[in-house]
């Protein structure tokens, strides 16, 4: 009788192994760095102010003896690093890297604050605020790339939203300004969709064109009209809205429950987007369009329409996020005020593995770096602020290069869908 062989595939996970070792060396290098730079040069205690006026309980200051703390963390990092070289380490490699990086950042803070005082809660509050445009920008990119449309034009869409919010807000008040910004953002999204889906413009080029157009148009109108008619560039700012009771909790209260509607709106939008993408029928179809548009087509799903809808809704989110720059922050529009935040949003999207919540986490990290940069100037640290500003960019490059984990975008990303 014939015998049928059933040989299974042999898994040789070379990439995983290499990655684990890289992370191991990285952690050990980090440990040495922390010990030598942060541990040795830390004098005195770092005092972190946690309480703010209005808290229901006034927390005492967190006092950390700088040098001992840093040496302990360095030892811990070295241990994590050494662990990577043992068998079975691959499974938790990314987790330990994340924890290690977090601890390293705390040592940096401790070192910078050694001998001085510093409002930790204030910085956390600023982190959340700064994270809003980045997280939403990342969401815009996610919504678009999940249906396989690369959106480089987030920067231009944010700028358009900011501009519209400022002008319409000056004329008709904050709420109408906000609605107008959302509509204009949606129109920009629609334009990107039309260019890319119907007219088959290369997606990168379309994004670059949208950025240039938005920058040009907003700069032109600002310098041509707004410098003369100041009253058109004087929008109201949405103030902070206290959530009763919760806002008086120590630390969390100020950070999470005493923000303006942009922060609350962002949280709601991100939650809604997550539900949409992963728990609804439309979300399943959208993701199918992004992974295998031909399959979706054969099942009667209108690939073009799904792409249009997602990109336009993404544009609306961008409009809302853009309005934050004016209606949620300074109330007037300055030329190029988004200053690259749209691109950081792209980075957050990649970091977050094309998941709305992932992008939020990444945005918080970037926002933290951003507010840290400001505080460092106050603390008079010897590190130039520019290097801290560079950190998110370098981190994105490292991630995109797959040096720590492979970032896998939707399979059909970047390719137009052409039906015969």
């Amino acid at each position: 009788m014939a015998v049928i062989e059933t040989a299974g595939p042999v898994h040789i996970d070379q990439a995983r192994r290499r990655q684990t070792l890289v992370i191991g060396w990285l952690l050990i290098a980090l440990a040495v760095f922390v010990a030598v730079v942060f541990g040795a040069e830390a004098y005195g205690d770092a005092t972190f102010r946690l309480a703010l006026p209005g808290d229901m309980i006034a927390l005492p200051n967190l006092v950390v003896p700088a040098a001992p703390y840093n040496y302990v963390v360095a030892a811990l990092l070295a241990f994590f690093g050494a662990r990577q070289f043992m068998r079975g380490a691959a499974r938790r490699a990314s987790l330990f890297l994340g924890i290690g990086l977090f601890l390293a950042v705390t040592t940096f803070l401790v070192w910078a604050t050694a001998g001085k005082e510093f409002s930790l809660t204030g910085m956390l509050e600023a982190t959340v605020v700064r994270a809003v445009p980045i997280a939403l920008g990342g969401l815009v990119g996610t919504l678009s790339e999940r249906v396989a449309v690369v959106n480089i034009g987030i920067e231009g869409m944010l700028l358009s939203g900011a501009f519209t919010g400022a002008i319409v807000g000056s004329l008709a008040g904050g709420w109408i300004g906000l609605v107008a910004a959302i509509i204009v953002g949606g129109l920009m999204g629609l334009a990107l969709g039309a260019l890319v889906i119907t007219y088959r413009v290369d997606q990168i080029i379309a994004g670059v064109a949208i950025n240039l157009f938005a920058l040009g148009l907003t700069s032109y109108v600002t310098s041509q009209v707004l410098t003369v008619h100041h009253q058109l560039n004087n929008a109201p700012i949405f103030g902070a809205v206290d959530i009763p009771l919760l806002s008086r909790l120590p630390i969390v209260g100020r950070v999470l429950f005493q923000q303006n509607i942009f922060v609350y709106g962002a949280a709601i939008i991100i939650a809604a987007a997550t539900y949409y993408l992963f728990h609804t029928r439309s979300g399943l179809r959208a993701r199918a369009v992004g992974e295998h548009p031909e399959a979706a087509d054969t099942l009667g799903i209108n690939v073009y329409r799904v792409r249009y809808i997602n990109v336009t809704v993404g544009g609306m989110v961008a409009g809302f996020a853009g309005a934050w720059f004016t209606l949620g922050s300074v109330g007037r529009f300055d030329i190029n005020m988004t200053n690259g935040r749209g691109f950081i949003g792209l980075a957050a999207m990649i970091f977050g593995r094309w998941h709305p919540v992932g992008a939020l986490m990444a945005a918080l990290v970037f926002g933290f770096a951003d507010s840290l940069q400001q505080k460092l100037a106050i603390l008079q640290t010897p590190i130039p602020s520019e290097f801290l500003a560079m950190a998110p960019y370098i981190a994105t490059i490292v991630l995109v290069a797959g040096l720590i984990g492979r970032a896998r975008p939707p399979a059909a990303d970047g390719k137009p869908y052409i039906k015969d």
Partner: protein, 376 residues
Amino acid sequence: MRQETLSEEALTRAAVSRFDFEQLAIVPVLAVVVAMILGGGVMLATGVTVPMIGQAYLALFDGSFGSLAAVSETLTAAAPVTLAALGIALGFRAGLFNIGAEGQMIVGGLAAVTAGFSFHGLPLVVHLPLALLAGMLAGAIWAAVPGWLKAATGAHEVITTIMLNLIAVQLTSFLLRNPPLQKPGRHDPISASVLPSAQLPKLLTWIDPGLRLNAGIIITVLMVILVYWLLFRTTLGFEFRASGLNPPAARYAGMRSGLIIVVVMAIAGALAGLAGANQVLGVLGRASPGFTGGAGFNAIAVALLGRSHPVGVLLAGILFGALDAGGRQMQVMAGVRIDLIAIIQSLIIVFVAAPLLMRAAFPWAFGFNARRQGGR
């Protein structure tokens, strides 16, 4: 059943189709015209009266080609953007999106300015090439890094080059606020001035000392010829084009795609770095934040408009130089802000990159039926 024997002469007859001509000539020209018209529309919407629009466009033409001074300004502005665009076009040919020309220009300019003020007592024939080479080298490295990352890890060059652009801006701020680059005695971010022995000589000062045209334009034309020769007459150019059109086929033919990516990016970066050096050594004499004037981004439009062909890029670069020079005149004479030019430029990109759109909107300009393909 064999057809009659093919004659050798018949086989070597060139095969040029009408489609090619449309792509190469009609679309770009139409794009520019439509963009200008829409620009007029924007002006109308912001309260500029129709006669003023006419004045504005007249000033635009006058400021770009209306006098020797105008032509001098046009070519001065054209040189850096053309150089950077040559690099981007080369990248496009090899299938790479080098959005990082701006960052490469920046580091090229910084390196050139550093070489420009650091060496005393060198003759022009040594110092100037040295400074130019410094700029090219810096740009090449800044581009080779994302190239190497793409070759080694597959990291998409759009993201990495965008990030490097942002890093370059921060780097500029840092370097220009500290010695050794910062000009001694100043607290604002501005570099020390380039020594006369490293400056690109002005070409037309014997006619009128105020004319700014510098030798950079000669270098630009030389580079156009060099890039043409490289692309179409060398084995390296053959490999670039093959890799850009069909990477798997190039690989199967034995071409080392990783090496090609790095080499193309390095050359593109060198060209962009040269553009930055040109700006610093020929026009400004020093570096300060924003010294590129966004030329690295405009260069993308120029490369697209020029259909990634060196000669096309030169023509498109001159056009953009004209828009730049004319735009300044327009602002002075007609009071229309120069930012309008950015709008026109972005519209040109859209129209050139969307031939289907042009065909749908202007079917009479094209030979065959405007069949609208795409969504319902």
